[in-house]
Symmetry: C2
Subunit: 428 residues, 2 copies
């Protein structure tokens, strides 16, 4: 056990000489676990002929514990399939990333989604994991207690490790009660700042809304132009609110939210009176990403986006500055996101020749987010794409600490090598 601490990134040759050559031959192609395949940021990219491990057939629900409100599953089950299975028992598993995402990938990405404002992110819904380590050891991080102080929190070390520390083969997940009586309200605001001030007021008031989402003027224009929505929306910064709970509780919340919105000159506040109306109002938020395509100048244009999260008091300035930068660039772009947590996605369309410029725009936005004490990725992860951004955000020492943990658990770099951070200088 050497005591020197690896804070300076080795060159490939010094890295290779520290691992012996037979070992290196094996480490040349590692393995990449593969669940739903919906992740962004190239965390599934096979840069070195790695072998995929596909969990398609490991998609069983092993046990549902109704009274304990937990479930034991294999990694290949999708969250929508799981929620369908649980519906009869009025149980609910909240994390809701991209459609088709599966538990293994959701754990490895530490995902979230529209439910995260009320319910937290994936890390909050995993009780314990069975994990196969790089040397073949199978470990179980915990049983099913609702809380535990038994040693290091390995469960949460694996959550968000993007397949680089171990392969999840089973998970115990926390559940909650399926929200009943869901209602939706939509408010259109004169500008970003008034919408964000409303959001801050709501967060501060402590009302446990089920979700709070923002679409900017461009995104609302996209919803109108796509022709998918029956409603003609004001093309203004819009907040979508979801409420759940007893009728009295929902009524109380709606009243308070409407009051706060009106205080900020909300120009239109629409409230759903039934579950069907709620669905059709929420539809615009749900299809926002697809609708955006209607904004393209040219069908061959590319798309790039960033997933920034800042303390909510800075979100108005953050989004306004990002939208300004889009306008100056001449690209068409928009901002939308999970504002209850200060998380938003900024994206632009650009012609292929302008790749560097578009990438530069995203990098500037991420740097601004970091300068506001935020993060370069609220939910999509690092993968290959954000490795540099991770260093600006947390610093070399923190990334070196992550690398030490990787090298302790996977010294041959067999598991999704090169994702999250580089293992040697110049690694692709």
């Amino acid at each position: 056990m050497k005591c020197q601490i690896l804070r300076v990134l080795p060159t490939r040759s010094s890295f290779c000489s520290s691992v012996n050559s037979t070992q290196l031959a094996r480490s040349c192609n590692g393995t990449i676990p593969f669940s739903g395949g919906t992740s962004l940021e190239s965390t599934l990219a096979a840069m070195n002929e790695e072998i995929f491990i596909d969990f398609q057939k490991m998609n069983k629900t092993i046990a549902v514990h109704e009274q304990d409100m937990d479930v034991v599953v294999q990694p290949g089950i999708s969250y929508d399939a799981l929620n369908e299975q649980l519906a009869d028992q009025k149980l609910f598993f909240p994390p809701d990333p991209g459609p088709g995402a599966q538990i293994g990938g959701m754990i490895a990405q530490g995902c979230s989604g529209t439910n995260a404002y009320r319910y937290g992110t994936m890390k909050d819904w995993v009780l314990g994991l069975t994990v196969v380590l790089a040397d073949g050891t199978i470990i179980k991080t915990r049983g099913r207690p609702r809380k535990s102080s038994a040693g290091y929190d390995l469960t949460r070390l694996f959550v968000g490790s993007e397949g680089t520390l171990g392969i999840v083969t089973e998970a115990s997940l926390k559940l909650t009660d399926k929200p009943e009586n869901v209602r939706v309200a939509v408010g259109a605001f004169p500008d970003i700042h008034s919408a964000i001030r409303t959001a801050v007021g709501i967060v501060r008031s402590g009302h446990p809304l089920a979700a709070m989402e923002l679409l900017d003027d461009m995104a609302m224009k996209a919803v109108n132009s796509s022709g998918y929505s029956d409603i003609e929306w004001p093309e203004k910064t819009t907040l979508f609110f979801k409420f759940a709970g007893s009728p009295a509780h929902v009524a109380e919340q709606v009243e308070e939210v409407e009051r706060l919105a009106k205080e900020q000159q909300c120009v239109q506040f629409t409230f759903s009176n039934s579950a069907d109306e709620a669905d059709s109002l929420w539809e615009a938020r749900k299809t926002a990403l697809w609708n955006m395509i209607a904004l393209k100048n040219d069908p061959s244009d590319n798309f790039i986006s960033a997933d920034i999260c800042v303390p909510i008091s800075r979100l108005g300035d953050m989004i306004a500055a990002t939208k300004d930068s889009f306008e100056r660039s001449g690209f068409i772009g928009s901002c939308l996101g999970h504002v209850g947590n200060g998380n938003f996605h900024a994206g632009v369309f650009f012609p292929a020749k302008d790749w560097e410029k578009a990438k530069g725009l995203m990098r500037e936005a991420q740097k601004l987010g970091v300068s506001m004490d935020g993060t370069v990725t609220g939910e999509h992860g690092i993968g290959l794409v954000n490795r540099d951004a991770l260093i600006w955000e947390v610093g070399d020492g923190t990334v070196a600490t992550m690398r030490q943990i990787k090298m302790a658990l996977d010294p041959l770099c067999l598991l999704n090598p090169g994702k999250v951070f580089k293992l040697w200088e110049g690694q692709e």
Copy 2:
């Protein structure tokens, strides 16, 4: 960087030869960070003349971000001092372990308390940490975004690491709105099982009670005999419920809780009509631990306890079996705890000569908890006392994985050496 993975515990001599001798001389006495000094399980025991690092003078609040609902503090501030500072802004920091506990120790222990059922445990309230590592590097795990997927979750690796991985020198903590209109209800039940069935029904109904605590018949007897309470309590298994929220919301919850309690033959259900009444009803729960002393047969008797947490459906069987074992042993003991999470503390008084027998009782209870998919410690941690129990619970491979992480970040074992797990065979 060696590739061999340390799954078999070395002997002291092979451990020592793997670290060179000058290094070992330094590692002989490491350091133990010290915050409030309220932790249990001997995590502060200096077994090898270690030096304490005391955070008494690092007790400042560095910034309160009211709109973002977060605060940046040094490790030496206590949670009650912090809550006093925040009260004017109607902000609240929920984790509430032993009186006098400070943020540094609360992070390192991953503590919880009576508020954990509603609000979660310490891990849920830490946004980011500044940590001094064993080699002197200072790292910052995150800024203040409400959520992030930027690399490994180092924040939660340090939470609960009992001072063995790094020294916390600054923390950004999440806050919530201070609960208003707090009410308390107390229900006495014919036996443990009816009380736990009520608790399960409440958890399952999804009502976000502020807290739900249990005191068994012996604990209630202690409250009566101590003479501290003005109320004459039924000496039966008792549930204490705390409600918070708007008056309408609280009324709704109380009605439902009373209904569920009556269904289980609750023999007495008392509801507070004012904040003062709430305080005086809750007093019995708050002073339960001190009141227990009234049960001692002999003032020189010792006390030992265990901190078990099981899936809630098993809690009735778990507590009943523990109480039976106390009765068979002839020791006086009781069970009380944070039942909303399935967590309870079992404790007995015993004469010094019966140490082995009393310890055996606790070990049996912990093993029963593990066999029910629970944990040997819901909130108090491992320290020295529960190192063996950690192995029964999670297995050798999982503990070896923790040890690999320790050795990667602190190869000279300078930080609270020998806590959580042994570093070599036979280590004290």
